[in-house]
Amino acid sequence: MGRDASLRSATISVLVENEPGILARVVGLFSGRGYNIDSLTVAAVDEAGRQSRINIVTSGTEMVIEQIKAQLGRLVPVYRVADLGREGPHIAREMALIKVAGTGEKRAEALRLAEAFRARVIDATTESFIFELTGGTEKLDAFLALVRPLGLAEVSRTGIAAIARGTRTI
């Protein structure tokens, strides 16, 4: 194994026992060891609500990402750690609620862009829209960049949910 200094982004899913403090444990691991968190989501994923899935987007050198996976893997309530990008193709989606305020031509342009991006209008006043947009992080970023000059007032993003393609499971 070489010392590759180049950075890569990794999407890591962690299946955990849904116990109090587990999120603090994961977040504390990242802050305590100086790893980046670009996005983090967590929710219960089994019927009984006993297991949660945490999706983390992080970045670092190959050695750091391997460390992150090993560090997550040795947490006591962790069942499995999957490096989605490495283990095969995967899908990652994020949802954003985007408030654009304005009138006249800017308002009309925002609506046209929303259509082009397949964003849904879920709230409207004569001076504002709230769009709901789902997609990859890049799509959301692109839409936000376009509506920013058109009166982007507020954004709420979920962070990514990710899953492997095909029949493979975590």
Partner: protein, 591 residues
């Protein structure tokens, strides 16, 4: 309570089921129901320490000298926060400890109640895992799980936070889970293919080195025995970290002594010059590697460890093996013997010739003026202590504090078996040795337990002399009194122009009187002619002793690889100036 047991009784039953014989603890309001439960039974013994940090170190000493889980009981709030240093110490050195902390009743949690602290929050990064038991039905399972977690995989400390109402109210008991822990299943059995690759790589080596650490000790007596077998089988040189001393007998000619910052010349140069390295149960920490980009630059590396996060953390390795040290060694021996190819005997002989030249430097040599009244060299004091204790033929356990004396003990006291050397390696906690000695002596009432101490460190947990008196523990405290925080003074001399800021120990107590005030025997040696007599009396005294040995205040601990320097930039003696010997500005920021 309808005939059911109280939470405290369930707790004690679970502890008994886990084989707990002794608890090191200190009471308080939140744990009174547990103390009441302890009072009404006889199976588990309680040792009352004098500070909660001491309780954890005592449990560590107990655990390290027996291989069992050490158990601690402290109250909420300050009891728990006082224990934190011990928990981090156990975490860094992978020592199995279960620490029970009292907590305010569940309905008061979060209310800033009296003696409330967010113990699980505070100890989350200080433990391997922790639990807050909020429901009676979770109690027994949490206790059983805590023991599984503490002792399996890479061992470590586990906290169970116990609200008072849960201890008073009734709770159901359940037996330990039969199929182990639901999510925590550390890998112990190594990948046979990786083991075979490792064995093949080792067979092809011309300049091999075996580098072992605390993981071999933690794995158990069998792992240490297998390591000895493997070292004899291969004839390869081997070195050990501070934590791993005793796994290979110091008397084995293939043992090169400790490596790292204060390791031997031959061990460090062998690491530097090796072409194949086998690391087992060691974690390439900065005290061992020195400057990373110059660490053993030419070697192909095999790293076996039970903790996957230890592998490829600091040093990239070619053959990673995840598994228990003992299982890995058994596999290596098998693969080595199964492989018909012979190793390169000529190259190995040549390698040993080179190593023997390094050995001939006698890097640990020192000069002791034998004249009456001459000042005692600290190294000489340890050597004599070693020789005179060995001559007794008793089972000897050594604990240490932290500083120069600790390094001299590691260099000059020779350990022949695992679990007889207890020192704070990863955290470097001054004040470790005395309470650790309490734990060792409790576990081994017949053993000779010696805390090799510095006069500064010993004051950090000196209150444990009172515990020693109460339980009539015949612990011997051997203070190398150089009147300085010697290790700090040494760095100031070498790195900070001899400006000895705050490292002189002014106003030291009279240790003889101090010993007497704690119902122990106090002895003092002022000069070399008094040394043997003091050691003799100390060893002959049945009860606890503090022996205050006045040693050369200016002595430095060598060899030394300064922080951030390479193994071949070692300072061998006081004759070399620090700055001239590879200490760089980037090195200066390191600790």
């Amino acid at each position: 309570m309808s005939g059911e047991q109280s939470g405290a009784e369930v707790l004690l039953q679970a502890l008994k089921e886990q084989g707990v014989e002794v608890i090191f603890g200190y009471p308080g309001g939140a744990v009174l129901p547990i103390y009441d439960g302890l009072f009404r039974q006889n199976a588990i013994r309680h040792v009352l320490v004098r500070h909660e940090q001491g309780a954890v170190h005592a449990a560590e000493g107990y655990a390290r000298s027996t291989g069992k889980v050490g158990v601690v009981l402290v109250t909420s709030g300050p009891g728990a926060t006082n224990a934190v240093t011990g928990l981090v110490d156990a975490l860094m050195d992978s020592i199995p400890v279960v620490c029970l902390t009292g907590q305010v009743p569940t309905h008061l949690i979060g209310n800033d109640a009296f003696q409330e602290a967010d113990t699980t929050g505070i100890t989350r990064p200080a433990t391997k895992h922790n639990y807050l038991v909020k429901r009676p039905q979770d109690l027994a399972r949490a206790v059983h799980e805590a023991f599984i977690v503490a002792r399996s995989g890479r061992p470590g400390p586990v906290v169970i936070d116990l609200p008072k109402d849960i201890m008073i109210g009734s709770a159901p008991y359940s037996d330990p889970p039969e199929d182990g822990h639901p999510s925590y299943r550390p890998r112990t059995e190594p990948d046979p293919a990786a083991v075979r690759r490792a064995a093949a790589l080792l067979k092809g080596a011309k300049r091999p080195i075996i580098y072992t650490g605390g993981g071999v000790i933690n794995s158990g007596e069998e792992a240490a025995a297998l390591l000895g077998t493997f070292v004899r089988l291969t004839g390869y040189p081997c070195t050990s970290t501070l934590m791993g001393l005793g796994a290979v007998p110091a008397s084995d000619p293939r043992f090169l002594g400790m490596l790292g910052m204060h390791g031997t010349y031959e061990a460090n140069l062998a690491m530097h010059g090796a072409d194949v390295m086998l690391a087992i149960g060691a974690r390439f920490d900065d005290r061992v590697t020195g400057r990373l980009d110059a660490f053993s630059p030419g070697s192909r590396k095999i790293h076996a460890d039970i903790d996957p996060s230890s592998v490829n953390k600091n040093v990239p390795v070619e053959v990673p093996i995840i598994g228990d040290a003992g299982r890995v060694l058994a596999g290596l021996i098998e693969a080595w013997e199964a492989d018909p190819k012979a190793h390169d005997r000529a190259a190995l002989a040549e390698w040993w010739r080179t190593i023997d030249e390094w050995r001939a430097k006698e890097c640990l040599a020192f000069t002791q003026d034998a004249a009456k009244g001459a000042v005692i060299k600290p190294q000489h004091a340890i050597r004599r202590l070693y020789e005179m204790t060995v001559a007794l033929g008793r089972e000897v356990f050594v604990t240490t504090e932290v500083g120069q004396h600790q390094m001299w003990a590691a260099q000059h006291f020779r350990f022949e078996q695992p679990r007889h050397w207890m020192t704070s390696g990863g955290l470097g906690t001054m004040g470790y040795g005395l309470p650790a000695a309490v734990g060792v002596q409790v576990a081994h009432p017949e053993g000779l337990v010696i805390d090799i101490a510095g006069e500064a460190s010993i004051l950090m947990n000196i209150q444990e002399m009172s515990t020693i008196a109460q339980y009539r523990l015949p612990v011997k405290v051997f203070i190398l009194n150089n009147q300085y925080m010697g290790m700090v003074r040494q760095w100031q001399e070498l790195l900070h122009g001899g400006r000895y800021a705050e490292s002189y120990m002014a106003a030291l107590p009279d240790f003889v009187k101090l010993a007497e005030s704690f119902h122990a025997t106090g002895l003092r040696a002022e000069s070399v002619d008094q040394l043997d007599e003091v050691i003799r009396v100390m060893l002959e005294t049945e009860g606890p002793v503090i022996a205050d040995i006045a040693v050369d205040p200016k002595e430095n601990c060598f060899p030394m690889i300064p922080s951030g320097a390479a193994h071949n930039d070692m300072i061998l003696s006081a004759a070399t100036e620090g700055r001239a010997a590879g200490i760089t500005d980037p090195g200066l920021v390191l600790v």
